[in-house]
Symmetry: C2
Subunit: 183 residues, 2 copies
C-alpha cells in the first residue's frame, strides 16, 4: 500500500474552508480564494476541481450531487477523517513555517545599491512606502466589509495589517540609512 502523501498547503486550506462552509460547492470555495486579500493562490478551476476529486478519493470529504439540480451542483462536506486531518494540520507547526516570508519589495531593496543615483533610490523607497500605505488602507476597509467570517477574517486581516505596518517602519529605517550615507 502506498504511504499516504502529505497534503499540500492548498489542499489543507481547502479542506479547512470546506469544514467551515459546509455544505458548499467547489465554486463557493473557489470564490472564497478569489476574494481573499492575500494573493498566494488564485485557486484556478484547473487546480481546484481536480483537488476536490483527490480529497474525495482520500475520503477526507464527501460530495453529494443534488438530485434534479440542472446545474449539477455538488454539496461538499468533510468526513470525520477530514475533520481529523484539519486538526492535525493545525497542530503540525514545523519550525521552517516560522521563517520570514519572501517579500518582493524586500527582495528589490536588497539590490538598492544598483540604482545609479541617490534620487532613484529615494524614488524607490517613496513608491514602496506609498504602495504599502495604500494596501494598509485597503485591508482596513475590507475589515469593515460585510460577508466576513467575523472572528477568523478579523484575525487574519489584523495579521496582514501588522505585517504591512512593519514594512512601513522598515522602509523608513532604510530611507534614513540612505540619507546618512550618500555617495
Amino acid at each position: 500500500v502506498a504511504r499516504a502523501k502529505r497534503l499540500t498547503e492548498l489542499e489543507n486550506c481547502t479542506l479547512g474552508l470546506i469544514a467551515r462552509l459546509q455544505p458548499c460547492s467547489t465554486y463557493r470555495i473557489r470564490s472564497e480564494f478569489a476574494h481573499s486579500s492575500t494573493t498566494e493562490w488564485s485557486a484556478s478551476a484547473g487546480s481546484i476541481y481536480p483537488l476536490i476529486e483527490r480529497l474525495v478519493r482520500l475520503k477526507l470529504i464527501k460530495a453529494e450531487s443534488r438530485s434534479g439540480d440542472a446545474r449539477g451542483r455538488r454539496d461538499l462536506r468533510t468526513t470525520r477523517r477530514g475533520d481529523q486531518a484539519v486538526h492535525a494540520w493545525l497542530l503540525d507547526l514545523e519550525p521552517r513555517f516560522a521563517s520570514a516570508t519572501p517579500d518582493p519589495i524586500r527582495t528589490r531593496a536588497y539590490f538598492l545599491d544598483y540604482l545609479r543615483s541617490a534620487a532613484d533610490r529615494r524614488a524607490f523607497i517613496a513608491r514602496a512606502q506609498q504602495l504599502t500605505k495604500i494596501m494598509i488602507r485597503t485591508v482596513r476597509t475590507e475589515t469593515k466589509a460585510k460577508g466576513m467570517i467575523p472572528e477568523a477574517d478579523h484575525l487574519a486581516a489584523l495579521g496582514a495589517l501588522f505585517q504591512l505596518e512593519a514594512r512601513l517602519r522598515w522602509l523608513d529605517a532604510v530611507r534614513k540609512l540612505q540619507d546618512t550615507r550618500p555617495r
Copy 2:
C-alpha cells in the same frame, strides 16, 4: 518577432546577484540562494542551469569558459543590457507587490476555531510564538556572521526582523482575544 517575455522573479533576482558578484560561476549563485535565510527558492540545479542559459540567449549575461580549466568553470558577467534590465526591474514596482505576503502561521490561525479545546488553541499560539522567537534569534545571529555583503544583507535581515517581530506582537493580540472569549 516574438515579444520578449517578462523575466520571472527568480530570473531577475539571479541577474541581480550576477551583477553584484561578477565574475562568478553558476555554482556560486546557487550556493548564494541556498544559504539565504528566506526559503523562497532553493534554486536547485534543475532550475538554475537552464535559467542561466536563457539569460545568455537573451544577451543579458555572458558566460566565458576558462580555457584549460578541467572543472569546466564558467565566469558569468552581466552585459549592458543585463544591467539595464536589473535597473528596470527595481523601478518597476507594481501595486500588487505591496500586498501582505502569505504566512503559513497566519493561514493556520485563520482556522484556529477548528481546534476543539481552548487548551489546544493556547498551545498553538504558544508554539507559534516560540518558533518565531527562535527564528528572530537566528536572523540576529546571521546578521553578525561573516561573509556578508555589508549594506545589502544588513538591510534585508532588518526587514525580515521587523516582519518577525510584527508577527510576534500579532500572536500576542491573538492570545489576548482568545483569553477574553473562551467557550
